[in-house]
Amino acid sequence: MKNNKSVTLQFIPYAEIAYLTSFQRVKKLIDLAMENRVVLIQGRLAPEEEADLIQETMKYIGKSKSSRFKGIELATFMPQTKNLSMMQTIRENFAKSLLGERDVLTIIGPATVVREIKKDPTKIQLLLRK
């Protein structure tokens, strides 16, 4: 990204990260953020992986004098499933156990590009730095 007037979202399908180890998954996401890319992932990290991602992010902040890396913005977006019937909930849980949480989206971007990700249950807003 040469300036902040346009932003490219790189999409990572679930299949691309499903078979990585936790360490590899976190490393891949950190590497992309360090390259100033905003990533849209099909699926989500486990809570422990999110914690690992935060810890790794902290290790890279201010690591080299040339680096402007200041951390990441991160958000997961889940569709509302509160009003599903019992049968739909069972089907949904069965599909998740087989396929993973494919209906969840995760957005990760470097804090130098993404100022804030605003989220409420029904919408997500990506606020960029000028």
Binding site: E50, I54, I61, L74
Partner: protein, 216 residues
């Protein structure tokens, strides 16, 4: 984790045979500037007469985990001894330039940022050691942040009971209902740690929390 189960079993036998009183390791977690240290100070001051750490409007004032051992808390006819563990605020980004707006010079701001990154790492490492956790949130701010979700997700994954302290209810724009709606599975105590508002309700929730603590 069979090793953990066996270790926990023998620990409980040891404590029951020798009638040793176990302290409840009570962690204070949350994003920066939610009021973790202010609440920890309030509890420590109420029951020991001493505070645990300094507070400031500048984010990341707490950059190291700080403790207060043997804090005996009494509420109605109940009594418990806590080890209070106040942790640095958890964030996904730390920019030293943000500290310049609070009057720090570049050198001080860079130092604070470096210490703050270490503090976040340390706070996450400590998660495994907690018996119960108070997640302290600023009730005037949007609760739907990934940091809040990540903290609570990690506590749930570790089976650590959680109480949410919706702090700063004295501020204009404070909205406890929004926090309750964001985390409907958890007990939410609306308080102002600074003004000492609703602390009775908080202590009641705290004693309900420790009934669920890990290892009991």
């Amino acid at each position: 984790m069979p090793v953990n189960i066996i270790a926990d079993f023998f620990t409980r036998i040891f404590y029951s045979i020798f009638n040793v009183k176990r302290h409840v390791k009570l962690g204070f977690y949350g994003p920066p500037n939610g009021g973790k240290t202010t609440l920890a100070n309030k509890i420590c001051k109420d029951w020991t007469g001493e505070e645990i750490g300094s507070v400031s409007k500048v984010p990341h004032e707490t950059r190291e985990v700080q403790f207060k051992e043997k804090v005996d808390v009494k509420f109605e006819n109940k009594k418990a001894t806590f080890k209070i563990i106040d942790t640095p605020g958890i964030a996904t980004k730390i920019d030293y330039e943000d500290f310049l707006h609070y009057g720090l010079n570049v050198k001080e701001a860079k130092k604070r940022a470096k210490e703050a990154t270490r503090g976040v790492i340390e706070a996450i490492k400590w998660l495994d050691d907690m018996d119960a956790v108070i997640v302290v949130l600023d009730s005037s701010k949007n609760p739907y942040t990934q940091v809040n979700i990540t903290i609570i997700g990690n506590l749930v994954a570790r089976k650590i009971p959680v109480l949410i302290a919706a702090n700063k209810i004295d501020l204009r724009g404070a909205d406890i209902k929004k926090i309750e709606a964001a985390f409907p599975e958890y007990d939410v105590a609306g308080i102002s740690a600074r003004a000492g508002t609703n602390m009775e309700e908080f202590y009641e929730s705290l004693f309900n929390l420790i009934k669920k603590k890990r290892g009991t």
